[in-house]
Structures are given as C-alpha cells and as structure tokens.
C-alpha cells in the first residue's frame, strides 16, 4: 500500500479530511459521554447530556485562582483536547487514516506522553493543593502504565510487521490480533482509561480531592478538558478496534458500519467494566503495574515475536 491510498488527507483533500476526522473524533467523545452517563445515572437525560453540559460550560464564566501560572494552566487545558484530536489522526476512519506515516503507533504513543505533561500542568497551574495532588497522582499512575502501554502498542506493530495503523488492520485479515494478544488488548484499554483518568483510574480527579486536576477549572477551560478526556476515550476505543479487532472487517455490512459497531461495543465493555469497580488507589495499583503488567506485556510481546518467527502471521 502506498501513502495515497492509506491517507484520507491525500484521498479527499486536506481540509475536508481534517474536518471529517475532527467531527468523527468529537462524535466518538460525545458517544462515550452518553454511554458513561447511562451507566452512572441511568438513561434519563443521558442522550442530550454532552450538548447540554457543553452549553452550560460555555455560558459559565472562566474563574481564576490567586497567583496561578496562567500561561501554563491555559496551555494545558487547551492541550488535552488538542492532543486527543491529534491522536485521532492515525486512527482509521472508513479505512483511511488522516495521516499515514511509517510510525503511526509511535505517534499515538507520543500524543499520550504529551497528555501526561498536559495533565500534570493542569494540576500545577492553578496553585491549589487539591489540584496539585491530582497532578502528582496522575504522574505516579502514568509512570506505572506508560511501559505496559508501550509494549502493548508495539506488540500489535510486531505482529503486523509495520507501525502503520492501516497496515496493522490489513494484517488481521485472517485472524484478529485479540486472539493472540489478549493481554495487550486489555492493557491497551486499561491504559486508555488511565490516560483519561476515568473510571477505576480516576484518582487524579477523585472526589476525595474535590475533583483534583479539574477542581479549579470552570467555563470553557473545563469544557476543553472534559471534552478532551471524552474524545480520548472514544478515540482509544476506535484505536483498539483497529489494532486488535480487525478494524472494519466483517461480513455483509460495509466496513465503516462494522467499525462503528465494534467501537460502540468496546465502549460498552469499557464502561460496564470500569463503572463496576471503585477507584483503584494508585499506591496499590502502581505496584501491580510494575510487578505484574510489565512482565505480562513483555511475555506477550515475546510470544508474538515467536509466532512471527514461526510464520504464524504470514
């Protein structure tokens, strides 16, 4: 495959492709919010929730704290959404990614690493204790799942023999990667939840610290951050489909509908599992991350490497 086929920017023109991909990203985010709201407070009012909540935050005033680091704080709140959108650039929409490079998976990972920096700044900026504690919780958590996540991503690339997302999708024509890489799949989804500090990994924004990194945000900045979290979760669900569930592959229906269907399914599973459990406290979770997840993902990569050598994926 060449660039002109795999990149939607080349196929549809840069501007239309960017607009379409951005809209899809926002739609995925909104979808996630709806699914999550249904799980937490029930069906009532869930459908309109993303729009109403966005409207509320747009009407609301931006509020400041005494002596904040204004520049870094504002930068961070914008960065969360921007990074979530940028990670969408390498997720296939209708069979094409907005931007197709020879290092798509590393790009996705780099956006997550930048998210790390952004969320920590979010905690640092407002000059408030709860917020700062939240920022540090995020870092501690991040240190523990960054490596397993990297290994999970690399495992998919290893199996496909390419770091190009569309290549990874194409490599699953015979067999979905989730079959040979179950551990990588689970770790990827868990890390996505952790990067959006959502569900069992929501300690950085926990109620015990009054909302942590988001505790001092209001108005449009809160909207940017909350939207960024939601979009990132939606994008990650779509990415999980592309990396482990064969992308748009499926009988009868067109590719895009299969992809959407699988994405919604992944979201449902993520929300159902994530909302069933309480927050996993970082001081407990971090040890598991280092002592269990890192070895598990390494073994997973080893198994896949051996399968590659034996010609299993050929």
């Amino acid at each position: 495959m060449t660039d002109s086929v795999t990149s939607s920017a080349a196929a549809w023109g840069v501007l239309p492709a960017v607009v379409v991909v951005a809209l899809v990203a926002v739609a995925l985010g909104a979808l996630f919010v709806v699914v999550d709201r249904v799980a937490v407070t029930g069906v009532r009012g869930a459908l309109g929730a993303p729009v109403v909540e966005a409207g509320r935050l747009l009407v609301q005033q931006r509020r400041v704290t005494p002596a904040p680091d204004r520049l870094l704080w504002r930068l961070a709140s914008a960065a969360v959404l921007v990074l979530a959108m940028l990670s969408m650039a390498v997720v296939p929409v209708a069979g094409r990614t907005l931007w197709s490079t020879t290092a798509d998976l590393v790009w996705f990972n780099a956006m997550e690493a930048l998210m790390w920096a952004a969320v920590w700044l979010l905690g640092w900026g407002p000059n408030a204790v709860h917020s700062l504690v939240g920022g540090y919780r995020f870092l501690a958590q991040g240190l523990a799942y960054e490596l397993p996540l990297m290994f999970a991503l690399i495992t998919a690339g290893l199996g496909a023999g390419t770091l190009r997302t569309t290549g990874v999708v194409a490599a699953q024509r015979e067999l979905w990667f989730v079959v040979t890489m179950p551990a990588a799949f689970v770790v990827f989804l868990a890390s996505a939840a952790a990067f959006a500090f959502w569900g069992p990994f929501s300690a950085p924004a926990g109620d015990d610290i009054a909302g942590g990194v988001v505790s001092e945000l209001s108005g449009v900045e809160r909207l940017l951050v909350e939207a960024g979290r939601a979009v990132f979760l939606g994008v990650s669900a779509a990415m999980a489909v592309a990396l482990f569930l064969g992308g748009g592959a499926g009988p009868w229906l067109p590719d895009w509908s299969w992809q959407l269907l699988k994405t919604v399914l992944v979201m449902l599973v993520l929300v159902a599992a994530g909302r069933r459990v309480p927050t996993l406290r970082p001081d407990r979770y971090v040890e598991v991350g280092w002592m269990v997840l890192v070895p598990v993902t390494l073994v997973q990569a080893l198994v896949v490497a051996l399968l590659v050598l034996s010609g299993w994926y050929a």
């Binding site: 509320r56 400041v64 926990g206 109620d207 015990d208 945000l217 809160r222 406290r281």
Partner: protein, 386 residues
C-alpha cells in the same frame, strides 16, 4: 434577547449543585434525594458549581465560609437556603430561572483574586483558589496578622508559618522540613473543609502536608465542639434510624472511595427507605440488601482500601475496631438491620490521631469511615439503640 434567554435556560437546565448542610441530616437527605431525582450532579468544588444549596441554618463561622464559597463560584451563580425538607423541590424549581436571570452577571468584571487577597477583609480575602478546604473561615485569632483564614486562598493559614519560605504574591511560601521517608520535602500548611464533597459540613482538618502526607493533623468543628443540634421540627424521627444512617454513611464512604455508581445506589436505597409509602420502603430494603451485597463482595474495593486506618483491634472513642473496610462492612451490616449504630459519637481527637502521618486519600477514607454527623445526634439517639 428572548432567544438568548431561552438558550441560557436550556444550557443551565441541569446545574451542578454544591451542597452545604449545616442543618440536620434529614434535611440533607431530602436535598440529596431531590438532586438525584433530577439527575443534577453534586459539584465537587466551587469551580464546578452553579448553585450553592445551604440546607439548614449555618452557624456564624459556617455562614462566613459560605460567603467565601459563593465568591469562588464562577458566574452565573445562585445561592439558595432551605430549612424545611418539603421546601427543597420548590426552591430547586426556581434555580434555573434564577441562574438565567443572573447570567447577565457575566458582564461584571470578576474581581482579581489577588487584589481581593490583599484587602485582608475576612469575607473576601480568602477568595478563590484555596488550598485544600473550600471556604474555610475559621481559626480566629491566636496568631495575629490576618490569621483568620485557616486555609484557603493561600498556601495555608496566613501568619501561621511566617518563619519559613517568605511571601510571594501575598501568599506565604512553603519551607522544607524532614518527612516520614527521610527526605527534606517542602511542608505546606493546609486546611481541609469545612465544605468538601462527602465531608461533614463544618468539620475542618488542619495540618501540614509534605507531598500528600498529612502531619500535625487537628480536627475541629468550626461552629463549636460538635455539629449543630438538629432543629426540633425537622425530620427528627428519621434522624436516628440505624439503617438509614448506615446507608448514608456508606454512600459517603463509597463516594470518597471513588465508586460513584455504588454510592448512588446506596443513596437511592436510603431515599426509598425514608419514603412514607409502604411499597417503596419494601423496595428500599431490597435495594439496600443488593447494594450492601455488592460492596461486601467487591474484591477491588477490598484490595484498594484494606489495611487503611487500622485500629489494631481496639475499638474506642466511638471508632469501631478494624480498618476502614471493616467499618464500611459494619455500615453494611447496620443497613441490613443486623447491628445498632455506634453507641458513642466518634472522638475527634482519636480520629485526628489515626489520620496523623497518612496520605491525603487515606485520611479522607478514615474520616469517611466513621459517622461524624452522628456526633451531633449520637448522644441523643445512638445510645437508645444500645
């Protein structure tokens, strides 16, 4: 203008509410039931809130704290005071219109918090962006200066630690001190409370934080030794019902433990149990049984909080023996009708001792694992169940 107004009303149709409940807990329960019925989220911090709902008559210090809190809300903002349970719904009905009415407030320039801070005027100086507790106006006195702001709008109490760090932008800086792990970390004076999510209104935890380890912890009620007494005519008969009290405590604990879904289920069961209707009480019992079963069976909860706040076998000072998980299970048992509520109110001094040297998250769990609202009523009702 009309279009604009309608749009505003539509956008603010589901406002976030910060609940301040200095009054009897039956009143808070009514408020929470009404919020849950409307699916209006409870705000976690002033920045997140559109509405401050004061349930009950605040004492002088709490009242001042609510004023500071109000100044920390982004506009448009509304404060409503409720002192009768049957009044909550009606007052909340008016909130959206009120918010839309004051959405013109946006035009007003918001005061620069730093300028507010410099004023040194108690009701404003604490201003926004507190460190820790929201709107704590307390600690009158003994350290001079403008020491009456225990811990907000700054890095801890003014004047309390002028000896280290110096001042920047009118805020005292943290200085270093040896810590638990043998490091020299900056230490910061903080106060948690009197208003925090899932926290008894009026309680203030002050201490020094290094990283997120709390030392020198001190707990107190800002309006006197104990929470305000229940008002004579409001929901008194319900106030002491052990199953309802236990579900309430359990819901708070679950919220602090980061399990909003289960917390909501516990609250829903509590609402049903308080209903006058026989049928919903029956459903409430079943719901309570289900949620307590979920909590007891949750391996993740056990794994996550086991071992925190262990009394090492000795019960006393109103704190049941075991760790926070044992105490949460105890609430489950009480909710199922198996046990009476704790006989004596928890002793704040003993509680402060348990919180000492804990991390912030653990400290919150420990405080949430004992019934402090009960401190007010325990003396009158708790013993009756012995």
């Amino acid at each position: 203008m009309d279009v604009r107004r309608r749009l505003t009303r539509w956008a603010l149709a589901r406002p976030h509410v910060l609940l301040v409940s200095p009054g009897p807990r039956a009143l808070r329960w009514a408020a929470e039931a009404e919020l849950d019925r409307r699916s209006w989220p409870e705000a976690g911090s002033p920045a997140d809130a559109d509405v401050v709902l004061v349930a009950g008559e605040p004492g002088p210090s709490t009242s001042a704290a609510v004023d500071v809190l109000m100044s920390q809300l982004p506009r448009p903002r509304v404060r409503i005071d409720v002192d009768r349970a049957d009044d909550v719904g009606r007052r909340l009905d008016g909130v959206v219109a009120a918010l839309a009415d004051v959405s013109g407030q946006l035009a007003e320039p918001s005061g620069d918090p730093q300028a507010l801070l410099r004023l040194g005027e108690p009701s404003e100086a604490g201003g926004q962006g507190d460190h820790g507790g929201h709107g704590d106006v307390s600690e009158h006195g003994d350290d001079g200066g403008h020491g009456d702001h225990g811990g907000h709008g700054d890095h801890g109490g003014h004047g309390e630690h002028a000896h280290h760090g110096g001042e920047v932008a009118g805020l005292p800086m943290a200085g270093t001190a040896p810590d638990r792990d043998g490091l020299e970390l900056d230490s910061l004076r903080v106060s948690l409370g009197p208003v925090l999510p899932a926290w008894p209104t009026g309680l203030v935890l002050s201490g020094t934080m290094q990283g997120d380890v709390l030392t020198g912890a001190r707990l107190r009620w800002i309006d006197g030794d104990r929470a305000p007494p229940p008002s004579p005519d409001d929901g008194r008969p319900d106030d002491g019902r052990p199953d309802v009290v236990a579900l309430d405590a359990l819901a708070r604990f679950l919220r602090v433990a980061g399990w909003p879904v289960a917390a909501r289920r516990a609250r829903a069961a509590r609402h049903a149990l308080l209903s006058a209707d026989e049928e919903s009480v029956r459903r409430g019992r079943a719901a309570a049984a289900r949620v307590t079963r979920t909590v007891r069976r949750s391996r993740f909860l056990r794994w996550s909080v086991r071992g925190i706040g262990d009394t090492h076998g000795t019960a006393g000072d109103g704190i049941p023996a075991g760790d926070v998980l044992d105490r949460a299970y105890r609430w489950c048992a009480v909710a199922g009708g198996g046990l009476p509520v704790a006989s004596a109110p928890a002793d704040l001094g003993a509680l402060a001792g348990m919180v000492e040297g804990q991390e912030l998250a653990a400290a919150r769990l420990i405080v949430a694992s004992v019934d402090l609202d009960g401190a007010a009523v325990g003396a009158e009702y708790g013993r009756a169940h012995d």
